[in-house]
Subunit: 299 residues, 2 copies
C-alpha cells in the first residue's frame, strides 16, 4: 500500500488488520463478525477503549486480538479503522487519525451522516480516506456485553459517500461492510439524514413520548402493545441527545409532520368519521406489512 496521501489508490487494498475505536455494541459486533471469519477472510482486530474494564472484557471474550487506549497507536497497525463512538466525536477522531496515519482507510457507524461528512471535508487528507457508513442494527441495548457477531446479518448498511474519497476507497469499504453480513445501500449524506429522521429518530422520540405519558397506576397493566411501542425509549439518553443535535433540522421537520398528522387524526376521531379512521389504520397496517423484515430482499 503506498503512502502518497491524499492520492492513495485503494483499488487493490487488502484489509487484514482493523482497528476498532470505541468498543460498544456496534464496535464490538463488527469486531466479532470479521474476526470470526475463517481462511482468507480472517481479520486481525485491535480494539481501542478508554476504560480498562472494557479492554479486559474485549480480550477475555475474544472480540479482539489486542487492545490499547490510544486510537493512533491502534490505527498505525491497521489497514482500516472503524470509528464506533457516539456521533458527536466521530469527525474529530477521523481528522486526528488521518493526520497521523496517512495510509489508513476509515469508516464509521454513526446514525447521522451529513454533519460528520461536512466536518471531515474540511480536512482533505481525511476526506480522501474516510467512507462514512451507518449500519442500521442494534436496539435499545448498549455496551460490549450485548455485542454479537451476527448483529449485521441481512441488516441495511448505508454508505454515504462525500465525493472526496480516493479511488477504490468506497469499493474497499463496501466489501468490508458486506463481509459483516449486511446489505450495503448507497445514499447521499443529506438524503440519509432526512430518511433516518423519519424512519428512526422521530420514531424514537415518539416512543419516549408514549412512555412518558404512562401514569404510575397503569404500570402493572401494560400489555405487549405498550412494551413493543416503547422498547426503544429504553435507549441511552446521552447517545440520543447527540443524535438530535447532529440532525436537528430534519428531526424537527419530521416531528412537525407528525404533529400535523396527529392533529388530523384527532379531527377524524372527534368528528366520528369512522370510514376515514379505518382507512388511516388500514394504510398503516399495509405500510407495516410492506416493511416486515421477512419481505426484504435478501442479499
Amino acid at each position: 500500500m503506498n503512502t502518497s496521501a491524499p492520492h492513495t489508490d485503494f483499488s487493490e487494498a487488502s484489509i487484514r488488520t482493523i482497528a476498532v475505536v470505541g468498543l460498544g455494541l456496534l464496535g464490538g459486533s463488527v469486531a466479532k463478525a470479521v474476526r470470526g471469519q475463517s481462511g482468507d477472510a480472517a481479520v486481525r482486530v485491535i480494539g481501542c477503549a478508554r476504560r480498562a474494564e472494557t479492554r479486559e472484557f474485549a480480550v477475555k471474550h475474544g472480540f479482539v486480538d489486542d487492545v490499547t487506549d490510544d486510537p493512533v497507536e491502534a490505527a498505525a497497525q491497521a489497514d482500516l479503522v472503524l470509528i464506533a463512538t457516539p456521533v458527536d466525536r466521530i469527525a474529530d477522531y477521523v481528522i486526528n487519525i488521518a493526520a497521523k496515519c496517512p495510509q489508513v482507510l476509515m469508516t464509521d457507524v454513526g446514525s447521522t451522516k451529513f454533519r460528520i461528512v461536512e466536518a471531515v471535508k474540511a480536512a482533505p487528507e481525511a476526506a480522501a480516506r474516510f467512507v462514512a457508513a451507518h449500519p442500521i442494527a442494534g436496539s435499545e441495548k448498549t455496551g460490549l456485553q450485548h455485542a454479537c457477531g451476527d448483529l449485521f446479518q441481512d441488516k441495511p448498511i448505508v454508505i454515504t459517500a462525500s465525493g472526496d474519497e480516493s479511488p477504490g476507497a468506497i469499493e474497499a469499504v463496501t466489501r468490508f461492510w458486506e463481509s459483516t453480513g449486511g446489505r450495503v445501500v448507497h445514499l447521499t449524506p443529506r438524503r440519509h439524514d432526512d430518511l433516518l429522521a423519519i424512519s428512526s429518530h422521530m420514531p424514537h422520540l415518539m416512543s419516549s413520548l408514549v412512555a412518558n405519558q404512562l401514569p404510575g397506576e397503569a404500570i402493572p397493566m401494560v400489555g405487549t402493545g405498550w412494551l413493543d411501542t416503547t422498547r426503544i425509549a429504553a435507549g441511552d439518553e446521552g447517545l440520543w441527545t447527540a443524535i438530535v443535535s447532529e440532525n436537528r433540522d430534519a428531526i424537527l421537520s419530521a416531528l412537525e409532520q407528525t404533529a400535523g398528522n396527529l392533529g388530523d387524526l384527532i379531527d377524524v376521531i372527534r368528528s366520528r368519521d369512522d370510514e376515514s379512521l379505518t382507512g388511516f389504520l388500514r394504510e398503516a397496517r399495509e405500510k407495516r406489512e410492506a416493511a416486515r423484515p421477512t419481505r426484504l430482499p435478501t442479499p
Copy 2:
C-alpha cells in the same frame, strides 16, 4: 344451581362447562387454557363461531369439545359464557343470552368496558350475571390460528364490576380468570377505559401514525427500532375502529395530551435546550424500565 334470576347466588358456583362465543385469538386461547387443565380443574368447552371453517379448525386442533353456530344453544349447556367478539357486539350478546338462559354466568374479553357495562345495566337480569373483564394479552395477530393456552400466563386481567352483580358472581369469575394463568386486577369501568386509553389505545394510534409517515424509499432501511415501534400498527383496522368508537372521549383526551407534549418537545429541540431533552429522554427510559414485565410482581 337455581334459576330464580336475577337473584341467583354464585358463591358455590362450580364451572364445569364453558361456552366461548367468538373463536378468535382471545376466545381460542381461553378455551385452550382451561380445557388443557387436568383433574378437578378440567373444563368442557363448547365453541360458537359463525364460520364453518373456524368451527372445523377449533375441533381439529383441540380447542373445544363441541361446536355450534348458535350462541344460545352453546350458552344453554354452560355454567359460564365467555363473549369473545369485537367490542361493539358484546353487550348485545350478553343481553340476548341472559334473556334466554337465566342461570348462566357471563364474562367477556373486551378492550373497552364503560359502554359495555352501561349497556348491560339497562337489562337487570343480564347485569346480575355479567362480570366484565379485559385480559391484557394478545398482539397485532388475530385469529384462532394464533391462539395458545399460555397466552394469559402472568398477564393482567382487569375485572370491572358494575355493582349490579349477584352475590358470588365476581368471585366465581375471578377464580375462572385466575385459572387461565392471569393476574386479576379490579378497577371501575370508567377508570379502566381512562387508563387503557393511555396505555394501549393512544399508543396504538401513535404506532399507526409513525408507520404511515414512512416514505416508500425508506422501506428497505427500517431497523428494529421502527419495527418494534410500529408492530401493533399491523393490527386489524376493523377491531381498532370499534375500540376507538367505544372509548372515544378518553382516547381524544389522551391524544390531546400527546399533542401538547409533542409541541413542548418540538420547542425544546428547536431552542437547542439539550439539558431538557436529555431529561425528557431519561424520564422515558426510567418509565420504560419500571414497566418491564420482568419487574412485575408475579402471582
